[in-house]
């Protein structure tokens, strides 16, 4: 009996660094006490940037490590960079808010680092076990984040609600995993892929896939498992909401793609209809339910539900260009969302945060630059060219038509017109209505920087779209070997 060789750790280098960094920062925070929040936050951002560097060092080549539990490939490379960018921007945006609201604790950036670590694990999962471990690490950190503002009833409620529903969904996911294991005898994605390459599977496997899909749909807040989203988004502290709407969403979509395409690519005919239904339901609900929202965080919750629906169109196509479309969608989505939340974070009047959409009235007069940026994000989310949001929709619709899913594409574009209504309403408030008051200034240098970066990317993406598109294409190709 030969000894099991020590597993190669090189593919997991970014994750190993990140966990060490999180521990170290916890120490820094614990020893330096309460005043260290800003320092720890910046160090956390630094750690995330270094992690991006390490992801680049590991590279986009396909490597399986940790005895087959862990994989890095072009897809993981792309998604990890997205998640890390999203997390870093979230921490940058959170600092000013946390200080003003009196919740500037060093645990916050550490929690985000841990959640990010979970996301990286999810993206690199190559086995049902590592899938679940990554997902839980992420979720537990996020539950705490949602309830981070302990004195606020809404925040506590949001955390509790997220925890209870999240635990339920994790249970379903785990049950699905056990079914898959029970009916196939393995948890390894490679072996599952070999077993089902022919496209034949027993009912037990299908039921297992459905249960896991339910759990994943919950994590990326797709209809009909979206119910937690508006409440949690509204109740959680705004930087947490911003974080929720960016990094975990990307990670969950990435896991969704990896889970369906890699081990069960052969069964695409079986799961495609589930994804189609989820995509249609999410797009329609995201479009119609948002119309009557008066709270901007709630509105963004529905908006994010809709965007997940559009992204899932690409997964429903199940083809290489479909996945390319999803990747492009998520990349652009990050920038639109980060920018929008940067504006929401600066909606402060007389020292208090305001969240009503009507508070934006007349922003075009009182703060023209911010209004211009938010206007760009809104038109972009509505998918109007030449802004970036148009390209994200373009590719998923292209993939859908290429895969013959014309009805899905038609429902998609029609719901995008409905969705355009509420995005336009924000533009209307800012530019057509008279101001009711002004927001506090200054808005903070970090927020300003994030806003400028995001607006520039969204506005000028059309000039050089090729790098992102070819990068996403290469990432998607790694999921479809041969």
């Amino acid at each position: 009996m030969p000894l099991t060789p020590f597993p190669s750790l090189f593919p997991a280098l970014p994750e190993l660094f990140l966990i060490c960094a999180a521990m170290a920062l916890l120490m820094v925070g614990a020893f330096r006490g309460e005043g260290s929040a800003r320092l720890v936050s910046w160090l956390a951002v630094l750690a995330l940037v270094v992690t991006i560097g390490l992801v680049v060092v590991v590279g986009p080549a396909r490597q399986v490590g940790l005895n087959g539990l862990f994989i890095t490939d072009g897809f993981a490379f792309f998604m990890k960079v997205l998640v890390l960018i999203g997390s870093a921007l979230s921490i940058v945006m959170s600092m000013g808010y946390n200080e003003r609201e009196g919740i500037a604790r060093f645990e916050f950036p550490v929690l985000i680092l841990l959640a990010t670590l979970g996301m990286l694990m999810m993206i690199s999962a190559h086995d049902l076990i590592s899938l679940y471990i990554g997902l839980e690490l992420q979720s537990l950190a996020l539950y705490v984040c949602a309830a981070f503002k302990r004195d606020s009833v809404a925040s506590t409620e949001a955390g509790l609600k997220y925890f209870v529903l999240g635990a339920l969904s994790s249970g379903m996911l785990l049950y699905g995993c056990s079914l898959i294991y029970g009916f196939s005898g393995t948890t390894s994605f490679d072996q599952l892929a070999q077993s089902f390459a022919a496209g034949q599977a027993s009912t037990g496997i299908i039921v297992g896939i459905v249960f896991v899909s339910v759990g994943l749909a919950f994590k990326c807040s797709a209809v009909p498992f979206h119910m937690w989203t508006p409440d949690v988004y509204q109740g959680a502290p705004t930087p947490v909401t911003a974080f929720f709407s960016i990094a975990p969403k990307v990670a969950a979509v990435a896991l969704f793609i990896r889970f369906l395409v890699e081990p069960f690519g052969g069964l695409a005919g079986e799961w495609r209809q589930i994804i189609q239904f989820i995509a249609i339901a999410s797009m329609l609900l995201g479009a119609f339910a948002a119309i009557n929202q008066r709270n901007i965080k709630r509105l963004m919750a529905y908006s994010s539900i809709g965007h997940v629906g559009y992204a899932l169109i690409g997964l429903a196509a199940g083809t290489e260009d479909g996945i390319t479309g999803v990747l492009i969608y998520m990349a652009i989505y990050i920038f639109m969302n980060v920018g929008t939340f940067a504006v929401i974070l600066s909606m402060r009047r007389n020292g208090k945060m305001v969240e009503g959409i009507d508070e934006l009235a007349g922003l075009g007069k009182t703060q023209p630059a911010m209004a211009l940026a938010l206007g760009i994000f809104m038109f972009s989310m509505a998918g109007i060219p030449p802004l970036a949001g148009f390209f994200s929709k373009l590719y998923v619709f292209m993939a859908a038509i290429n895969a013959g899913l014309v009805p899905l594409a038609i429902i998609g574009v029609v719901s995008s017109v409905v969705g355009a209504f509420y995005y336009l309403r924000i533009v209307k408030l800012m530019y057509f209505d008279e101001p009711t008051g002004v927001f506090d200034r200054p808005i903070g240098r970090e927020i300003q920087a994030v806003l400028i970066v995001a607006a520039t990317v969204v506005m000028l993406f059309f000039i050089v779209p090729a790098p992102l598109v070819s990068g996403a294409g290469a990432a998607a190709a790694s999921l479809f070997p041969g």
């Binding site: 075009g364 619709f397 292209m398 533009v427």
Partner: protein, 507 residues
Amino acid sequence: MSSFPILSLATFLPLIGAAFILILRGAPDIVARNARWIALWTSLITCVLSLFLWAGFDPATPEFQFVEHADWLPAFSIAYHMGIDGISLFFVLLSTFLTVLCVGASWVSITVRVKEYMVAFLVLETLMVGMFCALDLILFYMFFEGVLIPMFLIIGIWGGPRRVYASFKFFLYTLLGSVLMLLAILAIYVQTGTTDLPTAMAYDFPVGLQKWLFLAFFASFAVKVPMWPVHTWLPDAHVEAPTAGSVILAGVLLKMGGYGFVRFSLPMFPVATEYFTPLIFTLSIVAIIYTSLVALAQEDMKKLIAYSSVAHMGIVTLGIFTVTEEGLQGAVLQMLSHGIVSSALFLVVGVVYDRLHTRDIARYGGLADNMPKYAFVFMAFMLASVGLPGTSGFVGEFLVLLGTFQVNTWAAFLATTGTILSAAYMLYLYRRVVFGKITREDVRRMLDLSPREIAIFAPLIVLVLWMGIYPASFLKPMQASVANLIERVESAQKAAHLETVPRVAVR
């Protein structure tokens, strides 16, 4: 063919002007003044630049000229491909020309947020010119749809009391039409592997697919034209938009639909064109007669002209779908003529609106007494709109009716009644506003045209007469392109007929 990227320059020059305006800082009135001047100069230079296009244009060839080609999204073989032929040439000129007038017409009537206003118009100019030059479907779509953003803001920020309703209606209506076209473009991409327009124009799509694609493009262009019954956004948008906004709407944005039919629907879907011609004829005839009758009953000057636009554009769609040389040339000329005449009429309304701040026809009357120059200008454009021989309106309508007569006598007959109705409502409008006795003191106190206003109207009158008296300078450059287009459509239709069982011509 020069290697100098004159089309790109003409397209993106306004953006440079807009950027300059954006960085203006200082006291509000100085910023406003500088913004006006920068906008005027930028649009003037662009206009002159586009005249070089006309001068350098070779009318002998139907090929695209001044072509520019650059990789943009090589992974999807989507390219930055620009070029113009005899059909698009004049639309480019129309766009650049009208933008100058719009800046001039907004000189004193726009007093709030002048900076943003001028930026919006310059961005709009870029998008319009780019749209008429684009030779790639995705590129075209970007310009086509991008127009919505500045127009939405122009109507919504500087518009009248019901501006919010009008701007939303305009935006969502046209967006719904265009997204279907986007799907059709993607379907074309999937079918042909490219979005390059010249390639797609020569590609023979399967007949079944052609019909669906045609309908998707039709959804977009019919809203833009607008054809009856999807025209209802237009009166609202026109009435609420500021004067210059109405001018651009009537002058250029409506032409995007007609241009789309000529550029895309006809050459790409010739068989479907034939199949749907009866439908389009019917809709056009209904538009001509019905909206003319509606125009007769209007109390609001802008609304009346808006409805007359729908009727005139009905003549355009009729002409396009005759697919005869006369019909197509007439349709394009009618679009140009309408672009100038209806823009001029909106400016005419704007003149009195600036003074009295009402568009209610009943509030005026007897303007011939105290505003003789105004009465003359109004008359010139009113007669051009009616289609009096010697004006631009006549040539276009006549050619279209000539073409229609060859294809369908009844359609020609009914369309002709429309021109009679148009004389009725325009003359009625003119009588109520200009003739009669002045009964109100504020009307009596109105001043006649200022030199600035005369400077705006003079080139328009010259153009109207030029197109009416010597249309050859406009028809000649488009002849080769139109003939080429007709040949493409007819040969494709013939090929399709040979494939299937020969049908009895229903016409």
